[in-house]
């Protein structure tokens, strides 16, 4: 606002005979040095721009966990979100994944006295949305070797991503589906067909159709979240 150059051509016209000052007392239009008018400058201020969607960017670590008497476990996660309003934004380093998910390493507890299994498995997701409904949840599945070395599911659980920005710690309670009868369970134990959930991410994240399932609590997983929210105050949240 401090550099304004006025075009002054009064002195040029004064030298020609007969011509008077063409100004008539009106000032010349103000030209700013960088060529942008004040209105345009205001239009480009991000505080004045009404965005059309909100963004949620969170990252976290699936840190450690316990599952009854299990020594070696692997953790898999999937992030489930409401399909209509939410869009998962792929970044360049995980462009192959259509849906955010991952499988960790197979980790073992340190000694016989502690059943704590550490994965330290990081994840990060970006979402674009216009609605809070369908907020993402992280659904996990623990799997490990059975007595024959086959990989079977040992437990499932889910937790919602925190809605406030910053650092949060959460505990996911893990449960395991029970077999229908004792005989089925025994046979499944021998053959490696223990009771598992098909499409575990859809079943656990929605809660539909779970009324008739029977489960047993088996343990927990500790998760750490870091959340950043973009444009939430412009939409009236936060």
């Amino acid at each position: 606002m401090n550099t304004r150059n006025y075009k002054k051509d009064v002195s040029d016209q004064g030298s020609i005979k007969g011509q008077t000052n063409q100004n008539f007392g009106y000032s010349q239009p103000q030209q700013f040095q960088d060529g942008i008018s004040r209105i345009q400058e205001e239009m480009m201020d991000p505080r004045n721009i009404q965005p059309d969607s909100m963004f949620v960017n969170f990252s976290g670590v699936l840190e450690c966990g316990e599952c009854e008497d299990e020594e070696s476990l692997r953790i898999e996660y999937a992030v489930k979100y409401g399909g209509d309003d939410w869009t998962y934004l792929k970044t360049s380093n995980n462009a192959d994944d259509a849906e955010p998910s991952g499988i960790s390493q197979l980790s073992t507890s340190r000694n016989l006295h502690s059943r704590n299994i550490v994965w330290n498995f990081p994840f990060e997701c970006n979402f674009q949305t216009k609605n809070i409904f369908g907020w993402p949840q992280v659904v996990v599945r623990l799997s490990g070797p059975d007595f024959m070395g086959r990989s079977v599911a040992k437990g499932y659980g889910s937790v919602h991503v925190p809605t406030q920005p910053g650092y949060h710690e959460r505990v996911i309670r893990i449960f395991k589906p029970l077999p229908i009868s004792g005989f089925t369970g025994f046979l499944g134990y021998l053959l490696g067909n223990t009771a598992e959930l098909k499409n575990f991410d859809k079943v656990i994240s929605s809660g539909e159709g779970r009324e008739v399932t029977r489960v047993k609590s088996v343990g927990y997983v500790k998760v750490k979240f870091h959340v950043t929210l973009v444009n939430f105050d412009k939409f009236g949240y936060l």
Binding site: Q40, E42, M43, M44, D45, R47, N48, I49, Q50, P51, D52, G82, N131, I132, F133, G134, W135, Q137, G157, S158, V159, H160, P162, T163, Q164, H168, R173, I174, F175, L178, I204, S205, S206, G207, R210, E211, V212, T213, R214, V215, K216, S217, F235, G236, Y237, L238
Partner: protein, 235 residues
């Protein structure tokens, strides 16, 4: 002066965004899960039913149907959490904050002969401030009625009062309790009216006798919209 501008594509077009009255409605999201049950001293499987009760000014926008939640049946060792892990996502539009939503909980038991029976009841109030909350709702099991307290006036017409609080014959109180012990069949409420202050005959709660039972743990994140703008507290 600052007016909102819409940024479309690469150009900045000046369009005045008209804000209608509907944009300034307060909205609340309750996002969370019923984590599980604790301290229920039983070997049977337990599951939980949750019904949302709210005032008239609250409009449940999403999910479309308010049919309530029923969790999976969970078994646990003594002292362990009965893990239900049932997620929920509620989106309310608020025109009157009276009647803040409550969760009416009913815990059911599934015994070894695959019979289900009511175990206990509880009312959990949703939090009124934004952020993460862990609610612990203690539950109670009704054991019978107290015959000395009258609920209805003596000359009140029975026929008009069809919302019966309990269909049991009041004179059989001690015999009823003995029967319910041997049949492993504790009394249950016929309506959820005694659980909530909003609807129905909450006053009938005073004739109940109950015994304490375990607790239900619910984790919920509350997200509020326009509460600050409308000068409501909590955001």
């Amino acid at each position: 002066m600052s007016m909102p501008y819409q940024q479309t594509g690469n150009q900045i077009d000046y369009q005045e965004i008209k804000q209608t009255k509907a944009d300034l409605k307060a909205e609340v999201h309750f996002i969370g899960q019923i984590v599980g049950g604790l301290d229920f001293q039983t070997d049977d499987g337990l599951f939980c039913e949750l019904a949302i009760d709210c005032g008239d000014g609250w409009d449940l926008l999403q999910p479309g149907n308010n049919k309530g939640i029923q969790t999976q049946t969970s078994y646990a060792n003594p002292g362990q959490l009965f893990s239900w892990g049932h997620p929920f996502d509620l989106h309310f539009s608020v025109s009157n904050i009276s009647g803040w939503p409550k969760a009416l909980l009913k815990v059911w038991r599934l015994d070894s002969s695959n019979k289900i029976d009511a175990c206990s009841y509880g009312t959990a109030l949703f939090p009124r401030s934004a952020g993460y909350h862990q609610i612990t709702c203690e539950t109670w099991t009704p054991t019978g009625e107290n015959l000395d307290l009258e609920v209805r006036k003596p000359n009140e017409d029975l026929a008009t009062n069809t919302d019966q609080f309990s269909k049991f014959d009041r004179s059989l109180d001690w015999r009823f309790q003995a029967l319910s012990f041997y049949m492993e069949n504790p009394p249950r409420l016929t309506t959820l009216a005694p659980l909530t202050t909003d609807k129905g005959d909450f006053a009938r709660r005073k004739i109940l006798n109950s015994i304490s039972n375990g607790k239900v743990i619910i984790e919920v994140e509350v997200v509020m919209k326009n509460f600050k703008r409308l000068s409501f507290s909590g955001q």
